[in-house]
């Protein structure tokens, strides 16, 4: 099974039925799988804070949500994480493309990469970092944990996890 399909099946197994995405090259395959899956309502959002609002509503309506985004979005969504997701105590798995790590070809991506873990730590957001494909074996446990504690949880997935960028 491809890693894209495995991640999607793990989301479905965790009863996640509502996924919002902001695109990323690394996440393109998993976004395709999610879009095709009959048990997931896929709703692309224009910005990550908007996506978190959609997820908050879906969860209050009784459907488990998830958001898929780049790590640059941590810079966009700090207020939303603090004053919506954390303040009202809502669960939100965040599958994050960790741009700007090893094998990254675009220098500017490093500028947010160096802040990513520090910002998540400052927000007291439980954070997991997938570097090798076997790290994804933890995903079902991470999803259970998220809906057990009603917190946003970050899953950072770097270029090495996704197999790099072709010749990079």
């Amino acid at each position: 099974m491809s890693i894209d399909k495995k991640i999607t099946e793990d989301l479905v197994a965790a009863k996640i039925g509502f996924v919002t995405t902001v695109p990323c090259k690394q996440l393109a395959g998993v976004i395709d799988e999610i879009d095709r899956h009959p048990d997931i309502f896929h709703i692309p959002s224009n910005k990550e804070d908007e996506g978190m609002g959609l997820c908050a509503g879906a969860w209050m309506g009784g459907t488990r949500p998830a958001i898929i985004m780049q790590n640059t979005a941590i810079g966009v969504t700090i207020n939303t994480l603090a004053t919506l997701i954390q303040y009202y105590r809502m669960p939100l798995p965040m599958l994050i493309s960790y741009r700007g790590e090893l094998r990254e070809p675009v220098a500017c991506q490093v500028e947010m990469a160096v802040h990513t873990k520090a910002l998540l730590a400052e927000l007291k957001i439980p954070t997991y970092h997938f570097h090798k494909q076997s790290d994804a074996d933890e995903l079902p446990n991470i999803l259970d944990y998220t809906f057990m504690c009603n917190k946003p949880v970050a899953i950072l997935t770097d270029a090495n996890f996704w197999g790099g960028y072709g010749d990079q």
Partner: protein, 184 residues
């Protein structure tokens, strides 16, 4: 008519519906006029009421009314294409457009100048968009509920706020009783 007068007038229509209410004075006013477990008050996060309401409308069948403001819609304009392209027939976005940022001291918004939020909603692809005068809001809102079609209402009113107390209810209590009301 100012926003609090509209809210007073439409309170009997809102009472039995799921309502997501915008941050700041709009939530304080609705809370003071007619607090209900079916009301979700935003205490922070400007701009996301319309998105929360859409997420809620898409996963369950009860009607959802979002009470938003012109300033808050302007801060999350990406919401309009998302609403238009993910049609929830049980979703009503009521934008109370007073042409100002009411909660921060009535500074003018662009919606009070050259920008038409109704035309922007139409351009985004929303199919049922109604701009009305403040006095017509109740009637237009009731018609939208009866139509059972996704509707964006832009109610043009005067700028101004009623003096209401800050909401001191714990956010988790607001959220928990709201979720129970959704499920009921």
């Amino acid at each position: 008519m100012i926003r609090s007068e509209i809210l007073k007038e439409i309170a009997p229509i809102l009472r039995d519906q799921l309502v997501i209410c915008n941050i700041g004075i709009p939530s304080q006013e609705l809370h003071a006029i007619d607090d209900q477990p079916t009301n979700f008050y935003m205490l922070g996060t400007m701009g996301l009421a319309s998105s929360i309401g859409l997420g809620l409308a898409l996963v369950q069948k009860k009607p959802v009314i979002v009470i938003d403001g012109d300033g808050s819609v302007l801060t999350n304009l990406g919401t309009l294409p998302t609403i238009a392209n993910n049609v929830a027939p049980n979703y009503i976005l009521l934008i109370i457009d007073n042409g100002s940022y009411g909660s921060t001291g009535d500074q003018p918004t662009y919606a009070g100048r050259k920008t038409s939020l109704a035309k922007m909603a139409e351009a985004a692809g929303c199919e049922r968009v109604i701009e009305c005068r403040a006095e017509e809001t109740g009637q237009v809102l009731q018609e939208a509920l009866d139509a059972g079609e996704m509707t964006v209402i832009v109610s043009k009113c005067e700028s101004g706020n009623a003096k209401m107390p800050v909401i001191t209810m714990d956010p988790v209590v607001i959220r928990d009783r709201f979720m129970k009301a959704v499920e009921a």
